[in-house]
């Protein structure tokens, strides 16, 4: 079983970090195999940013996205650039304040969260990606909640853990709620 995930947004939104945390969660804490790659061509803050995660029960062969099962987007430019990477019937996960889907997205399952707005409410927009990861975990279940949190815990400096835990749970609970609706 091969699962392909693509994250897209702008430099500074933690798109690369989100991919790394997800891939590591699957490989190290869920005991699966994964490969994480990122686009190095536009690292500058404000430029396009994207990362890719392949999760598999077996060794990952082709290490990048061919037809994404999940597309997680945090900017309109990423929506424009990457929507065609999502496979038919795939799941589109977006920050609803930053991405406005058009009719091209009508055949996808769409889940929306105001991740950046929630992050500002919690106290720092920098945790928007962690809210997104909580939301992603609840919606998709491709990585367990425990594994995702452990992977976040290892990546984030200790003094920001409490803030990130609130962010993760906020996204997760919102995802649980959306899934039921």
């Amino acid at each position: 079983m091969r699962i392909e995930i693509k994250f897209g947004g702008l430099g500074g939104q933690g798109i690369i970090t989100a991919g790394y945390i997800t891939a590591k969660a699957a490989a190290i804490y869920d005991g699966k195999e994964s490969a994480f790659t990122q686009d190095y061509s536009a690292e500058a803050r404000g430029g396009a940013s994207t990362s890719e995660v392949i999760i598999s029960d077996e060794k990952v062969t082709y290490p990048q996205v061919l037809n994404a099962d999940y597309l997680v987007l945090m900017s309109q430019s990423a929506y424009r650039d990457y929507l065609d990477k999502l496979k038919e019937g795939g799941t589109l996960i977006i920050d609803e304040d930053l991405v406005k889907p058009d009719e091209k997205a009508k055949n996808f399952k769409i889940y929306k969260i105001p991740a950046t707005r929630f992050a500002e409410e919690i106290g720092n927009p920098i945790v928007a990606n962690i809210i997104m990861l909580g939301f992603f975990t609840a919606i998709t279940g491709v990585v367990s909640k425990d594994a995702m949190w452990k992977s976040i815990e290892e990546r984030i400096p200790k003094r920001f853990l409490e803030l990130n835990e609130r962010a993760f749970l906020k996204g997760y609970e919102y995802g649980e709620k959306m899934k039921k609706e």
Partner: protein, 372 residues
């Protein structure tokens, strides 16, 4: 590192593999996509009692590790793109003076500065023929983060055992890709140390080879008279600029690798036993080929893959072994293709100029064409 599971990039695995192999000296000049190797070594070598030096350029970097190797340390540098071109003069020096070194080349799109952050496989021939002269070196090329770590230990063992530069190839994709990796316990890592002279300094000729064609290597500063010259030299190490000395020395430098080639060869034979068509691939490219082989099998096409892990000395017997059509899939305009053609007429090239590996579909189409 403590044994266990880690989530590392190919670059980190290359650095940690080198440390596990016993490398304690690194001199380098950072360049994408190899910079994270230097970064990791700068952090880790001091923790392990080793030395990291950031040099003024690539020429200085390789010169520094050649010098350091004479002190008895295991040494490495890493570079890419234009950096490996700069290092090639001194790779010849290390081959001529028989100094164990490991050079990592993280291949990127080329020529010139090309595509610094994206994959290329244009340095496969350069790995062997980069320096002037007719000489043999060893070149290895892994396809995963785990294999990068494991193979790096072999790279150091080969360098030490055969007293030869080992060109450790990775590529931009592997360098920056993260995967799970298992670091084995210390007592499971097999390390080979270079032979040392068993006779006292006054009775030792430092370039007199044993029956295996490899001379024992003294450590500088222990009383042995060490004269290491890039000029053609005699067993004493002194320049002897004659055709006879050249014949003896250069023939031995080549033969010490050629005669041990089968011990050095590493090739993965993936679904080749019953194959009707075989794709030859290396490094990250082989990951796409592996998937394409599986897809072809699902269509009833008996495809297989020969994955060359040892690139040099070229493992030609594996090509001769199968009497089937070959495809060589590589990220250049035909390099290893020509090597394969030396051993079979039935071979097609699937090239790509660089920046990405082939999509599995592209390889699959080539496989279908070949069996039609």
């Amino acid at each position: 590192m403590k044994p266990g599971y880690y989530f590392w990039s190919g670059d980190i695995a290359a650095a940690e593999g080198a440390i596990a192999a016993g490398c304690r000296f690194y001199a380098g000049y950072p360049i994408t996509p190899s910079s994270e190797i230097a970064e990791r070594m700068a952090l880790r070598l001091p923790q392990e009692g080793g030395k990291f030096i950031e040099m003024e350029d690539e020429i200085g970097s390789i010169a520094a590790i050649i010098g350091a190797s004479w002190t008895g340390e295991k040494v490495m540098t890493a570079t890419a793109g234009p950096g490996i071109s700069l290092m090639n003069e001194n790779i010849g020096l290390a081959a001529m003076t028989e100094v164990p070194i490991v050079v990592v080349n993280a291949m990127r799109g080329a020529p010139s500065t090309g595509l610094p952050t994206l994959i290329g496989q244009g340095d496969l021939m350069q790995a062997k023929w980069g320096s002037h002269g007719s000489y043999e070196i060893i070149s290895l090329y892994p396809d995963s983060v785990q294999e990068t770590f494991d193979l790096m230990i072999d790279a150091f063992n080969y360098a030490e055992k055969y007293r030869v530069p080992v060109m450790f190839l990775i590529d931009a994709m592997l360098a920056h890709m993260y995967e799970k990796i298992y670091v084995p316990p210390e007592d499971e890592i097999v390390r080979i140390e270079r032979k040392r002279p068993t006779t006292p300094p006054e009775e030792t000729l430092i370039y007199k080879a044993d029956d295996d064609l490899i001379p024992p290597m003294p450590r500088i500063g222990e009383g042995y008279k060490i004269h290491a010259s890039g000029l053609t030299h005699n067993e004493k190490g002194y320049p002897e600029l004659t055709p006879q000395a050249q014949e003896k020395l250069v023939r031995r430098l080549n033969d010490k690798i050629r005669k041990h080639a089968e011990e050095i060869w590493k090739v993965e034979e993936y679904k080749t036993e019953d194959a009707d068509v075989i794709v030859v691939a290396m490094g990250s490219e082989s990951r796409s080929v592996r998937l394409a082989v599986d897809l072809a099998r699902r269509e009833g096409i008996k495809a297989g893959m020969l994955r060359l892990i040892t690139i040099w000395p070229f493992p030609y017997k594996f090509i001769e072994k199968y009497n089937v059509p070959y495809i060589v899939a590589e990220i250049n305009y035909g390099q290893i293709y020509h090597k394969v053609r030396e051993y079979t007429q039935d071979v097609e090239l699937l090239p790509k100029m660089g920046g990405e590996i082939h999509k599995p579909d592209e390889v699959l189409r080539a496989i279908r064409r070949m069996v039609q």
